[in-house]
Subunit: 657 residues, 2 copies
């Protein structure tokens, strides 16, 4: 009689096993992804499976309940104590006696997929650096003395194949009581990263509490954290804080200047951001209902200045050529080394930086958006004070940073403000009446909706609002190709307000879009476009297949308006998407999948960095990109724009069409 | 013409090198041990050599000054600025042009020998884990961005063959200013231990200041530290402190009991000993005239209870069978992890423990005395509250711990006290008059010397004093084989004082040696002897070739008196030596020679542990060893002792001879 055939679904892995083999052992023999923390002792139930019975023409087998051993005492006890769903069996207890089709439900897969919201985004395969292992440790023997730690290490090697696991003093201090309280059975959290295995914690007996990880994106303005369950990948809490360094300077360069001008400036900013990170961890833990001590690791990303300040490195070199990073490679630290109070042994992984202007946040964006895995030539733009730009596909990936300045964030704009309640964030202008309608952050209806509350406070324009306003002004013929705003006479609109020799557009009450606003946005968009264009030149292409807008701000930009302004190169608008906080997502990927850390390290090494500051073509592209649009032929995906030209400082206007 | 022959002394290494080869390059080609920190750039002068000229019949060459390039500008400048002794040349500047005999003075040898005081002790070859390296680092390049740390790492690999050196955050924080202040030339301290290389510090340019290491022996009573210059091996300061844990209990078991009885007892003892270690480091630095920050590494040894308490591990398991250590292996830690404030990146190496009763101090003794390298069968006894005993030779080494109790330290002795000024430490008794003479700690002359100050305070007897007193009483016929003290009538001495049914000997004033004292010493010496004897049984021998008495107390024991009491097995007295604080010496060896760490780790793994607590023969030997001496035949190296027998509780006495 041949050995029975067993087929695992959904993977389809199949093979014959000796009768009496447990489902868990069969899964291991056949390389099937079936979880187990207790190592097959009927304790953890992580190996639950759902056998299927009947005729399976697709698989060419018919299975019956006789193909499996009946439910045994261990399963009965488990069902009594903790409950076993109908149809479920414990894989470590169930023996294969005949043909079997065994479904491995997602919750029993070690390397399950973590759901991401966007369909086009890469899947996250759960494979965290830190996992729980249940081990049985030999008791001490006076005749052959050895340390409790050494016997635990031998047990981990023998029972889990984890060789040379080290332990912090904190773990060694907890070890003896835990081993004795658990009757020489303990659960350990082992962190395995970069060829190193480290026992982070030890609990008596079988331990089933949550272990968590925290992915942090340290932005210049906001700090965002995702607290994740390391066993399921689930996001337990997402929290955000203002970066308290703002009191030292609004943008990156003003903070670098503060460090240059004040002897303890860098240290003060380091203390401020570290305190914020610690507060963030506390808030995330509270929101998720877990203890800080359950957080066993953290991942941090940030731009180079934030990266350095979090690490306690003076960022002064990042403010001047040649923009040398103190350290570029990924870092493996203890969380406590940056004052982050998690579990005392918690580890911290800091993503590598690409260059002095293209930091670990850009590396995280690269990991999240993975242009290196794409056939389509992908342009990824992370818009902030500096724009980090990636361009590439499977063949190679280029990166640069472009000095857009803070205009896109509402700074340097007459009525500009941060994206906060009261800020105009969306704008449409009727091309005939030149009347605007707009939407305000914090209020759902548009301004022309009867439901728009009359008393809605409208306090200014945020970054996405000014982009839409200027793009709509261009569409409505109120701004010409050169960026000049027309007069009331030239445009036929009484919304135009003369300001000396220039004009402004009255959006709402005192909120005007001024000639200076248009000039500021022109500078910013020219820089952004020139950076993208420089990468395209270096890549040897005039077109890109798709564009991803990343960053909190990128999430709110209307791709159509961005393209009307010429912020981004031409592209099928259907292939322009927003990635939201891609840097934060990259941090989460690195938290949940340890192989992704090696991947981003290799990717960063392979990325070709283009330095805009020393590249003459950047200046050429920058100057050439000033018009709106700067070259109609370059934007086949846009409709023709009104062909108006206003005269600077005069009220004359010519219509060409 | 053949290449010139060059001969290096004192090693005798010789070979032919291409004309124009520098002496440093020739030394490296021929495997000669010639130091260099600056890598041959004429900065450090560590490669100074002394060429010799003339006819060398032994070597078969005649050398002249023309065989070497003349002194060059680099040497002239060096001589001007820092001075070059007559006859000395810089090896990196001097080219070999003809036959040459080059002496490498001890100060120019990397692996120079560190002098030890005892002739029989093993030499320490200087090869510390932490050394200085001068490197030239590539400047940052905007076109090919990389971190300053990564360029330093590449320079270390290329210029010194040190691959994958890591750096703590502290070093990364200091790196950028140092590189720029030094014009991209820096000196780094690199710690290399156990396949790991770690950059501990970075100084601008060439740095010639001292780097130090601290070897610490944490005893139950005293903590001793040796601060060493890591470049020369020189002991810069030796300091000692009382172990402040004494307030929690005099001996080890009382401290373990304190930990058992008090919830925070272990933590309080950990805090106390860590504070003392930190004070010790401060005192050593002050005495040596260096800053704490110049101490880049430390080595700690101690018995298992001290080992655990220093590491913050509750020692409760060490107080009960099976005496399980929390961890037995050597530990590589940061000094800060135990609150030791040295250089912020300073490393800490903790020697391995042999067993639950035989700790890292015994491992250090084994390293210092190295029975595994000896042809002679060597018994090493480290006498303290517990005696740690090693027995072995090249074939194998055995170890045990014997519960001698605190009598040898003056506890449980009627007039006993610690070894401190006022304590009687040496005793002689005139065999005829039965009158004693003695020496007191703190006073040089003996008590019968006219120079002995009449007002010398004599406060009690310390451990070595009571051993000598009882051995002398035995020699003078005042104590019999069974340990009974004779009466005034039986001994004919009016120094004998009746105490109930027993007698005592008046040593000085109120200071008596009582029957209880003799019994306490008998118990202690029986335990010590039984441990040694058990190891001899296990080894399969009745005799040992040599005996080493280690420990601060061992340094003061008179071997002859110890053998008269039967503390140690019979041996040629000329081959019984004191090793002083061998544990401290072992710590110093591990500090100064990194290979010795691997050696002691291997030795500890290979040592066969014999557990006295569960070995029935230990009890048998213990009972049998009670007499003084317990078996005359077993001590052929001792003179016959008076054959007296006193009757317990009576005043009768018989003289057999």
């Amino acid at each position: 009689m041949t050995d029975p055939l067993v087929i695992f679904t959904p993977s389809g892995q199949r093979g014959r096993v000796a009768p009496g083999t447990t489902v868990l052992a069969a899964a291991r023999q056949l390389g099937v992804d079936l979880d187990s923390v207790c190592g097959g002792r009927g304790i953890c139930s992580k190996c639950q499976v759902a056998p299927a019975f009947g005729a399976f023409p697709k698989h060419g087998v018919t299975t019956t309940e006789a193909g499996l051993s009946p439910r045994n005492a261990v399963e009965d006890r488990y069902d009594r104590v903790r409950g076993l769903a109908p149809g479920r069996r414990l894989g470590c207890q169930t023996q294969i006696l005949g043909p079997a089709v065994i479904d491995v439900p997602p919750g029993s897969q070690v390397h399950r997929q973590v759901i991401r919201k966007r369909a086009e985004a890469r899947a996250i395969t759960l494979d965290p650096a830190t996992r729980l292992y249940y081990v049985e440790v030999a008791e001490p023997d006076m005749q052959d003395p050895s340390g409790d730690l050494q016997r635990l290490q031998r047990a981990l090697a023998a029972q889990w194949g984890i060789a040379s696991a080290t332990a912090d003093l904190d773990t060694v201090q907890r070890l003896q009581p835990a081993l004795r309280a658990g009757g020489w059975r303990v659960t350990v959290a082992v962190h395995r990263d970069d060829a190193e295995a480290r026992i982070l914690h030890v609990w008596p007996g079988y331990h089933d509490a949550r272990i968590c990880g925290l992915a942090i994106d340290v932005g210049s303005t906001t700090i965002a954290g995702h607290l994740c369950d390391l066993a399921t990948g689930e996001v337990l809490a997402s929290v955000g804080l203002m970066n308290p360094q703002i009191r030292f300077g609004e943008d990156l360069m003003s903070r670098v200047s503060y460090a240059m001008m004040n002897p303890d400036g860098a240290a003060a900013m380091t203390a401020a951001v570290r305190e914020a990170l610690d507060t963030l961890a506390g808030q995330a833990a509270a929101e998720a209902g877990v203890d800080r001590g359950q957080i066993l690791e953290a991942v941090i990303v940030g731009n180079p200045v934030m990266h350095h300040l979090v690490l306690g490195i003076d960022p002064v070199e990042l403010g001047q050529a040649p923009f040398a990073l103190a350290t570029a490679d990924a870092l493996h630290l203890g969380a406590g080394e940056i004052g982050l109070r998690l579990h005392p042994g918690a580890r911290l992984y800091v993503l590598p930086c690409i260059a002095g202007h293209v930091g670990a946040d850009a590396a995280a964006v690269a990991l999240s958006e993975s242009p290196q895995l794409s056939d389509a030539l992908t342009l990824v733009v992370d818009v902030g004070t500096n724009a980090e730009i990636l361009l590439g596909n499977r063949t190679r990936v280029l990166a640069c940073s472009s000095p857009t300045g803070p205009a896109f964030e509402g700074a340097q704009i007459a009525s500009g403000q941060r994206a906060a309640p009261g800020a105009i964030e969306r704008v449409e202008i009727d091309p005939v009446s030149k009347a605007p309608r707009f939407r305000v952050i914090g209020t759902e209806p548009w301004s022309d909706d009867p439901a728009f509350p009359a008393d809605t406070p409208v306090t200014g324009i945020c970054g996405s609002g000014i982009i839409e306003a200027i793009a709509e002004m261009r569409l409505a013929g109120l701004v010409d190709t050169s960026g000049l705003i027309g007069s009331a006479e030239a445009t036929g609109s009484d919304r135009m307000v003369a300001q000396g020799r220039t004009h402004a557009y009255r959006l709402h009450g005192d909120i005007l879009v001024t000639q200076g606003d248009v000039r500021a946005i022109q500078l910013a968009k020219s820089a952004l476009y020139a950076g993208a264009r420089l990468l395209m030149d270096t890549f040897g292409t005039d077109t890109v297949d798709r564009i991803v807008l990343a960053g909190a701000f990128g999430a709110h930009i209307s791709p159509r308006h961005a393209m009307i302004l010429g912020m981004i190169p031409d592209c099928d608008l259907a292939r322009v998407s927003s990635a939201g906080n891609a840097a934060g997502t990259g941090a989460r990927i690195a938290l949940l999948n340890v192989a992704a850390r090696r991947e981003v390290e290799a990717l960063v090494r392979s990325i070709h960095k283009v330095e805009t500051a020393i590249e003459p073509r950047f200046q050429e592209h920058f100057v050439a990109a000033n018009a709106i649009p700067h070259a109609t032929a370059a934007f086949p995906h846009l409709p023709p724009l009104p062909d108006v030209t206003f005269n600077a400082g005069t009220e004359g206007c010519r219509r060409r069409r």
